[in-house]
Symmetry: C2
Subunit: 138 residues, 2 copies
Amino acid sequence: MSDLLERLRGRGWRMTAQRRVVAEVLDGDHVHLTADEVHARAVERLPEISRATVYNTLGELVTLGEVLEVSTDRRAKRYDPNAHRPHHHLVCARCGAIRDVHPTGDPLGDLPATERFGFTISDVEVTYRGVCPNCVSA
Amino acid sequence: MSDLLERLRGRGWRMTAQRRVVAEVLDGDHVHLTADEVHARAVERLPEISRATVYNTLGELVTLGEVLEVSTDRRAKRYDPNAHRPHHHLVCARCGAIRDVHPTGDPLGDLPATERFGFTISDVEVTYRGVCPNCVSA
DNA sequence: GACTTGACTTAGACAATGTCCATTGTAGGA
DNA sequence: TCCTACAATGGACATTGTCTAAGTCAAGTC
């Protein structure tokens, strides 16, 4: 994650204790925290950090392209630090667990021109839904 | 839409003025209204209808499989009456316009076993994002 | 047609998530 | 060290959705 901090500093991002903590909380694979979860973990390290700052910082990281917003459920947005490796998501319908997945195939190529309605398409998002091993056996 | 009303009645769905209005509002192709939009249109025909009833009715239609819930943006859920023909969605990033699309290809088959993490997958949701012709020229 | 009953509807309180703003604080350059 | 622009704070507000208690009504029965 020091990578991320370095990159951000190099891009002129003003470094503060709050921003550092938010970036650190987002480190790792298969991390998909909600803003509130990020806030909760950030508070453990920096008790005074406010909700608004967490929202602001997450929004900035998304704008900078360092973090992706993911909406796998219909509740809170989740934040995925794995922004530099394109991937899709697999979600457990019971417990909400999320895994990053890398399907073969080309969904964009699968959409014929007649089905594009004149849109200029820039992105495809694929969400697989199912039940995870834990929930199946439970 | 009388089809839908007939089907519902046949399934023992108690018919009320409110439910009829909600079902009628949802009629058509490329219809993807939010609960609030459904409520607004329902109020035009039945001024006393309450928000709670619209939410309840939409929830029931989803449970019955007559309407799909769609989350194309991160704001409100949208309701898609075209539940009997499988399809995906194409969304304009600027104005939010939504079209139903039918890609070729098999996204489920494109996910290798090694990428399934033991999940039992039941559904795939694909959302194409881009800019619609209106917004491009504007 | 009137009665009955359980399902439906209502209004409003409440909850969860997110945004905005005025004020206060501070990182980093001069 | 001092300045200044940018960041953080906290609390009000907005949006979307859920819940509940009380009233209302659709549809079956007589």
